[in-house]
C-alpha cells in the first residue's frame, strides 16, 4: 500500500524541492507604479542588469497592498517597488520588510527614508486636479487653482474626488488639507467643497478619468493620472492645488522572505542610480533624488526648485495611525 504512494510522492517532493529557492537570476517584484512607467523602468533596469529576469506584478495600490498582506504567511515577492508610503507603513506590511541600506540611500533627505532602513522613496506623486477645458468653457467658470477655489458655486455638481475610505488617493487629499489647515478649518473646508461634490468614487484614478471624458469638469486625482490623460490627447489641464498639494511617496523595500535577496538588492540599488533617475524625470514630477531637475510642468506651474518648500511635511506615520478615526469622521460629516 505504501509503495504506490511513495512512487507518486517522490516526483512531487522533487518538484517542491526545485521550486523552493528561486532560480538564480529571478526577481519577483510587486509594484503599484503605472503600467507605462513600469515598462520603461524595467527596460532600463534590464539594460543595466542583463542577467536578472524581472517578474513584475502590477496592480493598483490598494489591490497590491491587500495582496501583500494576504500572502503574509508565505510571501511571494522579493521586492516591493513604488508603493504608497502611507500603506507601506501599515504594520501588516512594514513588518514583512527587511532592513537594507541600498547604495546611495544616504543621499536622500531624511524624510524620504526609513530610520530602520526598511524603506526608501526616490519618487512620489502629488495630488492634482484634472480640469476638462471644453466643459469648463461650457460652464463659463474660471480655472480653479486651489482647494479653496473648489468652493466656488459655479462648480456645483461638477467636482469629483475619490472616497477616502476606499482609495489611498482620496485619503491623501483630505489628509493634506487637514494637516495644512488644522483640524477645525480643514473639516470646514472639506464640508464646503462637499456642496459642489457630485460623487466620491471608489477608485483613485476614476475622478480624472471622468474629467477627461467630459463627464465632470473637475476631477481630483494624482499628477501622473493627469499627465497620462494629457499625453493621450484629452482636452484637460493639470492643476496642482496651490494651497495644500498633498503628496505621497512611492517607497521601495526588500521583503524579509525574499527568495532571491542578492539580485533583489541589486535591483534596489539600481532604483537609486543615475540610470534610474534619468528615466524618472520623464514620468515623475516628484523625484527626491538630488540633482534631478524639476520637471517642465512644475516649472511652468510656478513651483520652486526645491519642492520640499511647498510640499507639506506629510506626517505619513501619523496619517496611518489616525486613518480610521479620520475616515470615520469624514463619513459622518459628508458621507453619502
Amino acid at each position: 500500500m505504501t509503495t504506490p504512494f511513495l512512487r507518486a510522492a517522490a516526483p512531487l517532493a522533487l518538484a517542491a524541492a526545485l521550486a523552493g529557492p528561486a532560480l538564480a537570476g529571478d526577481v519577483t517584484i510587486y509594484t503599484a507604479l503605472e503600467d507605462q512607467e513600469v515598462e520603461a523602468y524595467i527596460a532600463a533596469a534590464q539594460a543595466a542588469l542583463p542577467d536578472i529576469t524581472f517578474n513584475v506584478l502590477r496592480l493598483s495600490t490598494g489591490d497590491v497592498g491587500a495582496r501583500i498582506i494576504a500572502e503574509a504567511g508565505n510571501p511571494q515577492a522579493d521586492v516591493i517597488w513604488g508603493f504608497a508610503l502611507t500603506n507601506m507603513l501599515n504594520p501588516a506590511i512594514y513588518d514583512q520588510l527587511a532592513p537594507y541600506a541600498a547604495e546611495g540611500v544616504d543621499s536622500l533627505g531624511e524624510q524620504f527614508r526609513d530610520e530602520g532602513e526598511r524603506w526608501f522613496a526616490p519618487v512620489g506623486y502629488m495630488g492634482a486636479f484634472c480640469v476638462n477645458l471644453p466643459r469648463l468653457e461650457q460652464l463659463g467658470a474660471p480655472m480653479p487653482t486651489s482647494w479653496a477655489d473648489l468652493t466656488n458655486p459655479a462648480y456645483e455638481g461638477e467636482v469629483v474626488m475619490p472616497d477616502p475610505g476606499s482609495s489611498g488617493t482620496g485619503y491623501l487629499q483630505i489628509a493634506a488639507i487637514l494637516q495644512g489647515m488644522g483640524e477645525e478649518a480643514g473639516w470646514a473646508l472639506i464640508q464646503e467643497i462637499d456642496t459642489n461634490m457630485a460623487q466620491y468614487t471608489t477608485s483613485g484614478s476614476r475622478p480624472c478619468r471622468m474629467a477627461q471624458t467630459g463627464e465632470y469638469a473637475i476631477g481630483a486625482s494624482l499628477s501622473l493620472t493627469a499627465i497620462q490623460g494629457i499625453d493621450e490627447g484629452y482636452p484637460i489641464e493639470m492643476v496642482i492645488p496651490s494651497d495644500y498639494a498633498g503628496f505621497e511617496l512611492e517607497a521601495n523595500g526588500l521583503m524579509a522572505g525574499a527568495r532571491n535577496p542578492d539580485d533583489a538588492k541589486r535591483f534596489l540599488d539600481w532604483t537609486l542610480s543615475e540610470g534610474a533617475a534619468a528615466v524618472y524625470s520623464e514620468y515623475k514630477d516628484l523625484v527626491t533624488l538630488p540633482g534631478v531637475p524639476r520637471s517642465e510642468r512644475l516649472e511652468a506651474a510656478g513651483f520652486p526648485e526645491d519642492l520640499s518648500a511647498v510640499l507639506f511635511p506629510m506626517n505619513f506615520a501619523a496619517s496611518g495611525a489616525e486613518r480610521d478615526a479620520i475616515i470615520a469622521h469624514w463619513r459622518e460629516l459628508v458621507g453619502r
Binding site: A13, R206, R331, G335
Partner: protein, 554 residues
C-alpha cells in the same frame, strides 16, 4: 415476519456511487468550505489576534453600515423584481408566441454574457453618461450614476440567466392541461393565470434567487456607475483594499451571506417536489395580437437597449479618443502593455479547465445525490448552492489566505491557472448545480431501470440512459461555466501572478489607466474569442451527432 431483504448494490454500483459522491464533495470541502472557514475565522479575529465578535459589533455600530445594507437590499430587490417580470415576459415571448425577430432577442440576451460586466458599465456611460452620446445628441440631463445606473447594469447582467431558468420551466408544460382548461371554458387570460403561472412558479423562484444573489454581491458595476449609492460589495472593497482591513472585510462578506441563506431557505420552503411529466406534449406557440404586441414591444425594447450598450462599446473600440476625437482607427487593438493579449489565451485555457472539471464534477454530484436519503440530500443540496452568496472578492481573497502556504499541498496550486480555474468553478457552482438538478429531473426512471434489467451496470445506465437525455443540460452547463470563466473579474484579481493573468484583469487595468478605448478593444477581443470558442464547440457537437447518425444509418 422478517424485515425485507434488499439486494446489495453490485460492487461497481457502490464504487460509482461513492466516487461520484465523494470527489465533488471533497472538491467543495477543499476549495470552498476550507477557504470560507478561514474567512470566518478572520472575521472573528480581533486586532490583537484574539477571537471575538468585536468586529461585528464595531461594524454594526457604524451608523452608515445600515444605510449601506439598506441600499444593497433595495438595489437587489428592485433588480430582482425587474428580472423576474421582464425575464418572464421575454421567456414567454420566446417560447409561446410567434412574435417576429425572436432571434434578435435571443442574440441580445447572449451579449452581456460574453464580456466582463465592466463592459456594460462602460457602455452605459458611453451612451447615457453626462457626456455620453444620448446627452450630447439630445441635451436631456440624464443622470445615470447611482441607483438607476446600478439597476440597469445589474439587470443586464442578471437578465440572461433569469430568462434561461424561466425558459426551462416553461418548456416543461403539457399542452393537454391547456386543452382541458380551454374546453372547460377558460379564457386565454385565465389559462395564463391558472396554469402557466403556477407551472412556472418554481422557475420564477429560482430565477429570483439567482438574480438577487448575483446582483447583491456584484462589485464591478457598483464601482463604475454606482456614484454615491454605496452598497455592501463596495464596502468590502473599501475595507479590504482601501483600508487593508481584512478582518472587517471578512465581516461584511459574512454579512452578505445572510440574504443568500435567507433566499435559499425561502426557495426550499416554497418549492414542491414536482414529478417530471414523462411524456409531456410541449405547448405549441400561437398568435394573439394584443398579447404579442405588448410582449413583443417589451422584449424588443430590452434587446435594443442591450444591443445599443454593447454596440457603443464596439464602436468606441475603433475610436481615436472618446468622446473628443471620433475618427476611426485600429490603433486600440494594438495592445502591448502587460503582455498584450497573452492573458486572453490564459483565460481561454483556464476557462476550458473550469468547464471540463466543473461539468464533470457537477454531473457526478447530481447523479449521486439522487440516491441519498431526504435529510442527506437536502444537506448536499444546500451546500451545493451556497457558493453563489459569496462575493467574488471575498472568495478570491479566501483563496489567497488558504492556498498561499509553504506546504506542498495545497501550496503548489498558488499562482497557477488551475487555481484560477477552480476558483471560477466554485464561484459559479450554485448556478451549474441548479441547472443540472433541474435537468436530471427530466430523466425518466424507467430508462435506467430498463438498462439495469437488461444486465447493464450503473455505468452503462449512465452512458445509455442518463447521458443522452441530459446532454442538452450538460452542454448548457459547460458553455455557461466556460463563458463565466472568460469574463469573471472580482474573484481572480487576487489570484493572478506576474506570469499568469486573465483577460478580464487586462480590461480593468486598461480602463483604470485611462485607456478606455483600448479597454473597449480588449473587451471586443474577449467577446470574439468567446463567440469563436462557442462556435467551435457547437460545430464539434454537431459533427459528433452527425457521425452517430451516419453510424446508426449504416
Amino acid at each position: 415476519m422478517s424485515a425485507a431483504v434488499r439486494p446489495r448494490l453490485s460492487g461497481q454500483a457502490r464504487l460509482l456511487f461513492w466516487t461520484s459522491m465523494l470527489v465533488p464533495l471533497a472538491g467543495l470541502a477543499l476549495f470552498f468550505l476550507y477557504p470560507m472557514a478561514i474567512v470566518v475565522r478572520r472575521s472573528v479575529t480581533l486586532g490583537d489576534g484574539s477571537l471575538g465578535l468585536d468586529n461585528y459589533i464595531r461594524i454594526l455600530g457604524q451608523s452608515h453600515i445600515w444605510g449601506v445594507l439598506g441600499n444593497s437590499l433595495v438595489m437587489s430587490g428592485l433588480t430582482t423584481l425587474i428580472c423576474i417580470t421582464l425575464g418572464f415576459a421575454i421567456a414567454y415571448a420566446l417560447q409561446r408566441t410567434r412574435m417576429p425577430l425572436r432571434w434578435l432577442v435571443s442574440l441580445a440576451l447572449v451579449l452581456p454574457l460574453l464580456a466582463p460586466s465592466l463592459v456594460q458599465a462602460l457602455g452605459l456611460i458611453f451612451l447615457f453618461g453626462r457626456n455620453g452620446l444620448i446627452n450630447q445628441w439630445t441635451g436631456w440631463g440624464i443622470q445615470i450614476y447611482g441607483l438607476p445606473g446600478l439597476v440597469i447594469s445589474n439587470t443586464m447582467y442578471a437578465l440572461p440567466q433569469a430568462v434561461m431558468i424561466i425558459g426551462a420551466a416553461l418548456r416543461h408544460s403539457d399542452t393537454r392541461q391547456y386543452d382541458a382548461a380551454r374546453v372547460l371554458g377558460a379564457s386565454p387570460w385565465r389559462r395564463f393565470v391558472d396554469i402557466t403561472l403556477p407551472g412556472a412558479r418554481f422557475g420564477l423562484l429560482s430565477a429570483g434567487f439567482v438574480s438577487f444573489t448575483i446582483t447583491i454581491t456584484d462589485f464591478g458595476n457598483a464601482a463604475v456607475v454606482g456614484g454615491n449609492y454605496r452598497v455592501l460589495a463596495t464596502e468590502i472593497y473599501a475595507q479590504v483594499v482601501g483600508q487593508m482591513n481584512f478582518n472587517m472585510g471578512a465581516v461584511i462578506g459574512i454579512m452578505l451571506l445572510i440574504p443568500t441563506l435567507l433566499a435559499v431557505y425561502l426557495e426550499k420552503l416554497a418549492s414542491r417536489r414536482e414529478g417530471a411529466s414523462e411524456s409531456a406534449i410541449p405547448v405549441q406557440p400561437d398568435r394573439a395580437w394584443k398579447r404579442d404586441l405588448v410582449l413583443g414591444t417589451l422584449s424588443q425594447a430590452t434587446a435594443l437597449v442591450v444591443i445599443a450598450v454593447v454596440a457603443t462599446v464596439v464602436f468606441a473600440s475603433f475610436v481615436r479618443l472618446w468622446p473628443y476625437r471620433l475618427e476611426m482607427t485600429f490603433q486600440n487593438y494594438n495592445i502591448t502593455q502587460e503582455n498584450g493579449y497573452k492573458p486572453l489565451w490564459t483565460s481561454l485555457y483556464a476557462s476550458t479547465l473550469t468547464a471540463v472539471i466543473g461539468t464533470t464534477l457537477l454531473f457526478a454530484l447530481t447523479v449521486a445525490q439522487r440516491q441519498l436519503g431526504r435529510g442527506m440530500a437536502k444537506a448536499v443540496y444546500l451546500l451545493a448552492i451556497v457558493p453563489v452568496g459569496v462575493p467574488g472578492l471575498v472568495l478570491g481573497l479566501s483563496y489567497v489566505l488558504a492556498f498561499n502556504t509553504r506546504a506542498i499541498f495545497p501550496g503548489m496550486l498558488y499562482g497557477t491557472a488551475l487555481l484560477i480555474a477552480l476558483c471560477n468553478f466554485y464561484h459559479y457552482h450554485s448556478q451549474g448545480f441548479l441547472t443540472m438538478v433541474t435537468g436530471i429531473r427530466t430523466v425518466p426512471p424507467a430508462l435506467e431501470e430498463t438498462v439495469t434489467c437488461m444486465g447493464g451496470g450503473p455505468l452503462r445506465g449512465l452512458r445509455d440512459a442518463v447521458l443522452p437525455v441530459m446532454s442538452p443540460v450538460l452542454v448548457t452547463v459547460f458553455f455557461f461555466l466556460f463563458m463565466r470563466g472568460m469574463v469573471t473579474l472580482s474573484a481572480v484579481i487576487f489570484l493572478i501572478s506576474p506570469t499568469v493573468s486573465v483577460g478580464a484583469v487586462s480590461v480593468l487595468r486598461l480602463d483604470q489607466a485611462g485607456y478606455s478605448t483600448q479597454a473597449a478593444a480588449f473587451s471586443v477581443c474577449i467577446m470574439l474569442v468567446v463567440l469563436a470558442a462557442l462556435g467551435l464547440m457547437r460545430a464539434i457537437l454537431w459533427l459528433m451527432s452527425r457521425r452517430r447518425e451516419v453510424a446508426a444509418a449504416a
